[in-house]
């Protein structure tokens, strides 16, 4: 069959993923509704930036719930949870889950939406809301590895108060000429991200960037379509959608 292959191959993975006990070491309130959990996970095998973990909570009566969360850290296991007001898991993790308590995690999961410091292409990150989390892992991994790969982040968020990692992003962009961070405040200006934003803030197609887009489904659909329309090779665009 003559299928033009647009997708590459994901990372090959082997071995069984088992549940590991994860204990909350510390936590940071990132915004009014987003909290970063720093977890101690004994024997964590390590991960690539962009991968996620499955989280399992078990109530004292045996009731369990599972969710997937992107890993925010380059090393160690930190996840940033955005509270969904009518959710059953995220409000627990943002409001109730306390230091030294344990949950279970397994991972890392996903070998496709990942960045490797051996990839020489410039990187375009495009975040919608809490979609910034796995992209932050890439920014942190780049810094940890000492890679000089030029990175741009375009971060669409409702208001400046909704920016996750605001201080850290400001500091990193200030101290590192290879990292450019641009914000689009959609609530402030009253319109969603459009082709003009992408034209202004993203690497042009001639730079052949590796593109990572993460956010709500509608946002990712819109931005990925714009990137393709602007001439970026669909094979260079990796997406992660939620909700």
């Amino acid at each position: 069959m003559n299928t033009a292959s647009r997708l590459g191959r994901p990372e090959r993975s082997g071995g069984r993923l088992r549940w590991r006990k994860a204990t909350l070491v510390s936590a940071r309130q990132e915004t009014a509704s987003a909290r970063t959990l720093v977890l101690d996970v004994p024997d964590w095998p390590g991960h690539l930036p962009g991968q996620h973990v499955d989280v399992r909570l078990t109530a004292p009566d045996g009731y369990t719930a599972q969710r997937s969360y992107s890993i925010a850290s380059a090393s160690g296991v930190e996840i940033t949870v955005q509270r969904v007001d009518d959710g059953e898991v995220s409000p627990y993790l943002t409001d109730i889950y306390d230091i030294s308590q344990s949950i279970e995690v397994r991972g890392p999961i996903g070998g496709w939406f990942v960045w490797r410091d051996t990839d020489p292409a410039p990187v375009q990150l495009i975040a919608g809301g809490s979609g910034v989390v796995p992209l932050m892992a890439m920014i942190r991994a780049r810094a940890e590895s000492g890679a000089k790969t030029p990175f741009k982040l375009m971060y669409s968020v409702r208001t400046p108060e909704d920016v996750i990692y605001a201080d850290e992003l400001r500091q990193r962009a200030r101290d590192d000429g290879g990292l450019d961070v641009q914000y689009v405040y959609t609530r402030v200006r009253g319109s969603r991200v459009g082709v003009a934003d992408v034209n202004t803030h993203a690497w042009p197609k001639d730079f052949e960037p590796s593109v990572y887009i993460c956010g709500p489904t509608g946002f990712v659909e819109t931005v990925a379509d714009i990137m393709v329309a602007l001439g970026h090779d669909a094979r260079s665009i990796k997406t992660e959608r939620y909700g």
Binding site: M1, T3, S5, R6, L7, R9, P10, E11, R12, S13, G14, G15, R16, L17, W19, K21, R56, L57, T58, A59, P60, D61, Y63, T64, A65, Q66, R67, S68, G87, E88, V89, P91, Y92, I96, Y97, Q101, S102, I103, E104, R106, I109, G110, G111, W112, F113, T217, V220, E221, A224, D225, M227, V228, A234, R235, I237, K238, T239, R241, Y242, G243
Partner: protein, 199 residues
């Protein structure tokens, strides 16, 4: 064995007897794809079944949509944990598409227009268990959900229901598809919670 989480459970949703383990009920229709949504025009669309000897059977969009179809209501389960119950689809049963195909293969690789692949045992596609679906809830299937047509194999996790389906390739021996190669389970039965290799 499992770690108890004190204080968790107060916000639990009403237990859903129809849900496989580890799943929760979604009311919207989330989208999971590895890249941009391909826009496949129906004038250029074709569906191809390729046998292990290289023989091909092809349908254009017009030929395909003229085939006898079924309207089915099924539950769908995504490995990312959401499930959606009682979803309505129109599609052509794989039984119909395989009617004149001669094959000794036990396995199938589904190929999509974006290059995505996923592998399945042929027997899981037959006997009224799978369709090439092209309408969802009474409307043409939207591109972001796999339109113009997608595979629908509701008894397996939804990554097996390849979006933007282009064809099926018969295989004498099993090979891993896109996510299967990346550590997801080779078979993917949600009721046995076969999410990842070794589950």
């Amino acid at each position: 064995m499992s770690t108890l989480t004190p204080g968790f459970g107060g916000l639990r949703r009403k237990q859903q007897p129809d849900l496989p383990p580890g799943q929760y009920l979604a009311h919207d229709f989330p989208v999971l794809s590895a890249g941009p949504t391909p826009r496949v025009r129906t004038e250029r669309w074709e569906f191809v079944i390729t046998t292990e000897t290289g023989e091909e059977k092809k349908w254009t969009w017009g030929e395909f949509t003229a085939l006898p179809y079924e309207d089915v209501t099924v539950d769908i389960h995504c490995v990312t944990k959401w499930s959606k119950l009682h979803t309505g689809w129109r599609g052509v049963p794989i039984d119909t598409l395989m009617e004149d195909v001669e094959t000794a293969a036990d396995y199938v690789m589904a190929h999509s227009y974006d290059g995505y692949t996923t592998n399945l045992p042929l027997e899981d596609l037959l006997d009224g268990q799978a369709w090439v679906a092209y309408r969802y809830e009474g409307e043409a299937l939207e591109a972001e959900h796999g339109g113009p047509a997608r595979l629908l194999v509701p008894h397996l996790y939804l990554w097996k229901s390849a979006k933007w389906i282009h064809g099926l390739r018969m295989m004498l021996e099993d090979e891993p598809g896109f996510w299967e190669e990346a550590g997801y389970h080779n078979y993917g039965d949600p009721w046995r919670e076969q999410r990842y290799q070794g589950d």
